[in-house]
Amino acid sequence: MGYPENPILVVIDVDPAGGVASSTGALIGAASTIGAPVALIVGGNLGATDAAAIAGAQVVLTAPGDPAALTVPITDALQAAYRQVKPDAVLISNSIAGRDVAGRLAVREKLAVSVDAIGVTRDQEGIVAHHSVYGGSFLTNSAPTHGTPVITVRQGAVGARADAATATVEELQVPASGAVAAVAGEITAVEQASSRPELRGASKVVSGGRGLGSKEQFVLVEQLADALGAAIGGSRAAVDAGYIPYAHQVGQTGVSVSPQLYVAVGISGAIQHRAGMQTAKTIVAINKDGEAPIFDIADFGIEGDLFAVVPQIIEALEARKK
C-alpha cells in the first residue's frame, strides 16, 4: 500500500496490558511537526490502534509481538516497517525498551542515531534533533551525515500534539531475524496505579530528600504534592533509603524534569540532583541549612524545619481551596 508523503515512523511503547504508553501523544505530536506520523504497534490490543489514530497517526502498522522474548520481536517488526515505509526519520521513546530497539535497528540498517531529543525540527538539509546536555546547561543540535536518522525522544519533553486522524490500519508481515532473545517474565508493577500526575512531563513536582528522615515521614511529601496537584519525586538519597521507588528519582541518573513548579523538600541540591531539575520554571526549596546549594537556584527559598513548615503550607493551601 502507499504511505503519506514525508512519512515519520513512530514506534509506540505498549504497556503490559497492550495499551499505548503515555509517551504516545508526544511522540506522534513530535512526528507531526516534521512529517506524516506512521505508527508501529507491536503486541498492542484493539484499543491501542484507536489510541494511536486519536493521537494523530495517519497509518497504523501492527504486529503481534511476543512478550516473553525481549526486544528482538519488536526490532524485527520495526525493521520490516522501516523497509516498507522508507521513512524520513524514525522516532522512538527514550524509554528502556525504546533505546534497546533504536540501537538494534540502527546497527541492522546502518543508520545514524540521536538519543534523548527534547524536540525535532526539519530544515533544508533534513531532520534535526535538539538536546539538553549536562542538566540543561547546554543545548545542542544533532543530525545525520546522510540517511534516515533514528531519534529517541525524552519522555515528557515535547508539548506538540497532532490532530486526531482517521488511520489506515495494516497488519505487517514480519520475517523473523532469528536473533536469540532473552526470555522475559511477566512485568510486575512496582507501585499501585495512582491518580497522581506522572513525574515525566508533570507541570508541578514535589520532591523529597534525605531530610524526610523515614519512609513514614515521606508521606508529608505526598500530602504536599496532593495539595498542589503535583507529581512526586525524590533525591537519590531518598531512593537509596527506600522512601520512594527508583522510578521517582530526579537527577543525573534518574528522571529529568522541566515543570512549571518544582518544590524541593529536605534536599541539599547536590549537582547531580540539580542536573535533573534546574530547567524548571520556578523552583521552591525548603531546607533547614541556609547554606544548602539548592538555595543557589531557588526562586523562593525557606530556611526552616520542614516538619514545621510543610504541614503549614498544606494547611494554607487547603484553606485557600475552601
Binding site: 528502556i96 523552583i283 503550607i313
Partner: protein, 258 residues
C-alpha cells in the same frame, strides 16, 4: 568464564562540566575526569562472580583518549585481571554507531562469554551501546538489570523495565547492562593499586581492529549547533519565623502556580 566489562572515563559529575563551544564535544580540559560510577558497579558484578569462581577472567575494555590511562589502571586496581584500551585520534567525537562498531570489534577478538556494561553513562547518557553490541555480536541482550545471577551457561536477573520489574534469562554469550541499584565497587587498596601497574594493558588502534572511521563508510550523527545557557540565579530566601508558609502560598498565587 571470560567476562568483558565496559568501563568509561567521564567528566566528574561533581565538577563543572562543559562542552567545547566550537565542536560541541566534552571539554576534557575544564574539570576532573573519573571512571563513571556505573561502570565501576558493572565491574563489581564481574568481580563478585570471580570471587566465587577463581577460573574467571575479568577484562576491562575502554574506548577513550590516550590520556585516560589512569582511569583504565583504576579498573585494574579495583580488580580486573587485564585491560584493553582502544585509543585512536580518529575516534574523537565518535557517535554511538562508530563507538559500538569499535567496541564490538574489540570484543570479537576476546570472545568473552559475557559482556557487562552500565545502563547509562553520565556524560553521553546514550544507554544504547549494550543493545547495539548484542546486535553486532549476535549475543543475547538483557538490559537494565537491578539484580544479576551469573551461571555457567546463562545469566538471569531482574530487569527494571519501564512499566515495572520482570525476571529475565539469557543463555550465554550475552551482553547485559546493570543499573545503579547494584552496589558500588570495592575500593582499590594500596596493594591492588601497586599490583595494577604490572597487570597487562593492551592498547589497540582502529587499524588493529580493522574498523574505519571514514565518514563516507556509514552515516554518522554529528553535532550541528551548541549553545550554553546562562546559569540560574537565586531568588528570594526567607527564614521561617512562623509565617513562611503564608508567604510561600502568596508567592505561588502571584505566579499563578496555585
Amino acid at each position: 568464564m571470560k567476562i568483558y566489562v565496559l568501563v568509561k572515563e567521564v567528566p566528574d559529575t561533581y565538577g563543572d562540566r562543559k562542552l567545547d563551544p566550537e565542536t560541541g564535544l566534552t571539554d576534557r580540559a575544564t574539570g576532573d575526569v573519573v571512571l563513571d560510577e556505573i561502570t565501576e558497579r558493572a565491574l563489581e558484578v564481574a568481580l563478585c562472580y570471580a570471587d566465587e569462581n577463581p577460573d574467571t577472567d575479568v577484562v576491562a575494555l575502554s574506548m577513550s583518549p590516550g590520556s585516560a590511562t589512569a582511569s583504565v589502571r583504576r579498573a585494574l586496581a579495583i580488580g580486573a585481571a587485564s585491560a584493553v584500551h582502544i585509543v585512536d585520534e580518529d575516534l574523537r567525537g565518535a557517535d554511538l554507531g562508530l563507538t559500538a562498531e569499535t567496541l564490538a570489534a574489540a570484543i570479537r577478538r576476546g570472545e568473552p562469554d559475557l559482556v557487562i556494561a552500565g545502563n547509562l553513562s553520565t556524560d553521553g547518557s546514550g544507554g544504547m551501546i549494550p543493545a547495539m553490541l548484542a546486535e553486532h555480536l549476535g549475543y543475547v541482550q538483557a538490559t537494565a538489570l537491578s539484580a544479576v545471577e551469573i551461571g555457567a551457561n546463562s545469566v538471569t536477573g531482574t530487569r527494571s523495565a519501564d512499566a515495572g520489574t520482570q525476571e529475565v534469562a539469557a543463555p550465554l554469550p550475552a551482553v547485559i547492562s546493570i543499573t545503579e541499584a547494584l552496589p558500588d565497587a570495592r575500593f582499590p587498596n594500596l596493594k591492588n593499586t601497586m599490583a595494577a601497574k604490572k597487570k597487562p594493558l593492551e592498547v589497540l588502534s582502529l587499524a588493529d581492529l580493522g574498523v574505519s572511521a571514514d565518514p563516507a563508510a556509514a552515516p554518522r550523527t554529528i553535532l550541528t549547533a551548541v549553545s550554553e545557557k546562562p546559569p540560574r540565579a537565586a531568588g528570594i530566601k526567607i527564614t521561617n519565623d512562623g509565617d513562611a508558609a503564608g508567604q510561600l502560598v502568596e508567592f505561588l498565587m502571584q505566579n499563578k502556580l496555585v
